[in-house]
Symmetry: C2
Subunit: 427 residues, 2 copies
């Protein structure tokens, strides 16, 4: 018989944590290491101490609440995510994974479920990077020796300590905010392979796939590889009123024409792909951006994600071919920003999650992650996997972001079962 | 026999005035009422006093240098333009019209050309509006009682005095900059129909039409009417990695698709039009403008210019029809920013300019102005017209902006002839 987490206890956590940073219209703003984030951390300590967990912090303000297992030599199994949000974000992104860990531990204690390994719930500091970029900053620091070389410099301790705030802050940079927090401890307390044997992160899907399929939860298989480019066009500017149409080299017209044609060629390649690749042009800028001037420069961002490196290569091939052409008499130039390989989650842990979902009788499916998470860096260091919960309308990073209390509890139940399987699997 | 202006004297003025605000790479930055603009005004005073002209200033820092004519009761004939530039602008836009007036008066004095009317060269304050918007600010103030009602509020004295600087300035607003300048006088000194009978503005074409036709100068017939709209698209945002392509409502894809289709439909209508209408999409913005987010909002500017109100109506009809459709599952909305009728220049003055060009044996043509100028507001108040000079590559509002000394002198000769014809025509 599968153990189940408690709906009422989960609902109470959701209600309570949603207050910390409440922006007054359904969502929260809870930047990392802000007073609001500290309130959430205090609540975490209070609730975890109430079940007899030991609280530890590391040098980058990650927090760990641990209950002992029956084997004093066993490594810890950890569940975790982050408590910080984007500006005007929702009540689930990040905190759901922390509440899930708490709920799993609370259930284990309440139901006196036997386990060999210590079980830990963890808060990763500054995942969103909303106030202090980059995103996934602290998992990047902690996993720095394990992540691919080309990513390392972005997350080098010395570099990210200098990260300056994007919004109002009483601190000049991330290092100062870190120096000021009371939730700090020795570097030895960091999550590491010598003390931890497995890590689970539960997160809302942030997409509409589970909802559409009528599934409560998803067993995440991997985080899709991606590439990110800037696509630029060079024309020349002239006066809106005095320059004949036929002689213009309009960089925005070029960018728009390219963008429409790119959609056509990409969609053609995507036909019949399972899964399809996703591509996004989220930013655009023109110069001089004056209504009476023909733009001489235009630039947009292109983000492409898919698990298969061969398909990503084909997509990149289309882009590179297109960039060789002239568009509306403008030269085109592309510049790679970053390329990231697909991160596959630990096969055993993925299987434990799937078995747990199945045995609990919930509606579930295999799913891929298009977004980045701390678990993705952690996966380079430790056996790691993720659980997704159904997300209303696929919305996230906004105030209407919503997961029902029932689905949050289902996610916790799935995590509990998987943790108990890992507890038996690992020495 | 037609009088001719002097190439060497004109060259000397061009060389001298190009120093005031010299940005070190061929062009100038000379904001209105800046120290650099004051240097140009000092030079104007020096040179005009040298030929015996009387210097006056009005309450909005416009300057007037006047030589008397033979009839003490005759109204003044004025030539003028502005001495301020855009940021990193060229050595001709504005100042050419002032140098032309000076050259005309210097020729009249040197050659002792008889004339009945007083002749004035005028500096219009703050035409570009680069530091203190809007453009054509001071002609808008001075002609406020005469310009169309819908424009008046933009140029109301009290309103524009509060205009705050777009760039670094020692003054908090235009009113303070005006209070600090020494080039100020009584309001009675303003150009007005009771003291002035005609106004001529010489300006570089800012387009490639004269150059391509092999003509030195153009007799400007009118300033094209125009309309300016914002075109907006409303979709919804979602995460770049987690949201399936088929369910996206991508506002930038919508804007790009609309923009390309608009080009197609507009170009179809433009086929065989003589002159063609010009249209420009100079600005674009998306929200939230993050590379990992599908844009939920996109907006671009649309500027359309043509002399014929019927054709402008047809163009607007296409726009309005297109806005009724849905684009890439995004709603479209258009908002009028302003609409301006065609301003026809005074028939007699236009004829005098054409006759003067013809009689001087220069290569000339009729031409239309797509850009706005102080002359356009002045035309509502006084008989007014403009002369255009050939512009290298059609470039303006940038450092490579260039008009040859010969073409500048041709413009001055054309202006001189027209002024002398006006001198005979008016009482």
């Amino acid at each position: 018989m599968a153990y189940k987490c408690d709906l009422n206890r989960m609902s109470d956590k959701i209600k309570t944590f949603s207050k910390f940073g409440d922006a007054g219209h359904g969502g929260i703003t809870r930047y990392s290491l802000s007073p609001e984030a500290h309130m959430a951390r205090e609540e975490f300590v209070k609730r975890m101490e109430a079940i007899g967990a030991k609280i530890e912090c590391d040098d980058v303000a990650c927090m760990y609440a641990t209950i002992e297992g029956s084997d004093p030599n066993a490594k810890r199994i950890v569940l975790g995510s982050h408590v910080d949000s984007v500006k005007n974000g929702g009540n689930y992104d990040g905190i759901l994974g922390v509440m899930t860990g708490m709920e799993v531990m609370e259930t284990i204690v309440a139901e006196k479920i036997p386990h060999k390994h210590p079980i830990t719930t963890m808060i990763w500091t500054n995942e969103e990077g909303s106030l202090y970029p980059p995103a996934m900053m602290v998992s990047g620091i902690i996993c720095n020796d394990y992540i691919p070389e080309e990513l390392r410099v972005n997350f080098k301790y010395e570099n990210v300590m200098k990260s300056t705030p994007m919004d109002e802050s009483e601190f000049a940079n991330f290092g100062e905010a870190l120096a000021a927090t009371k939730f700090k401890g020795p570097k030895e307390n960091r999550i590491s392979p010598d003390k931890y044997c497995a890590m689970f992160e539960t997160h809302l899907e942030q997409g509409p796939i589970l909802e559409e399929a009528g599934n409560e939860v998803g067993a995440v298989q991997l985080v899709m590889g991606m590439f990110n480019y800037r696509v630029r066009f060079h024309g020349f500017t002239a006066h809106a009123g005095t320059f004949p149409m036929g002689k213009r080299h309009d960089a925005l017209f070029a960018a728009s024409t390219f963008l429409c044609e790119m959609h056509k060629r990409f969609d053609e390649l995507n036909k019949g792909q399972e899964p399809e690749f996703v591509y996004t042009t989220g930013e655009i800028y023109v110069h001089p951006c004056i209504h009476t001037c023909i733009p001489d420069e235009a630039e947009f961002s292109l983000d492409v994600r898919h698990p298969d490196p061969e398909l990503r290569k084909k997509v990149m091939g289309i882009l590179k071919d297109m960039a060789k052409e002239e568009w509306c008499k403008c030269a085109c130039e592309i510049e790679e920003q970053w390329v990231r390989d697909t991160v596959y989650f630990d096969k055993n842990l993925v299987r434990f999650v799937e078995e747990s979902m199945e045995e609990s009788g919930m509606k579930w499916q295999k799913i891929l992650s298009g977004a980045g998470h701390d678990a993705q860096f952690c996966a380079y260091m430790l056996p790691t996997t993720m659980i997704f919960t159904r997300t209303k309308d696929g919305l996230s990073h906004c105030e209407p972001e919503f997961v029902s209390d029932e689905d949050c509890t289902a996610g916790a139940t799935a995590a509990l079962g998987a943790v108990l399987k890992a507890d038996q699997f690992y020495e």
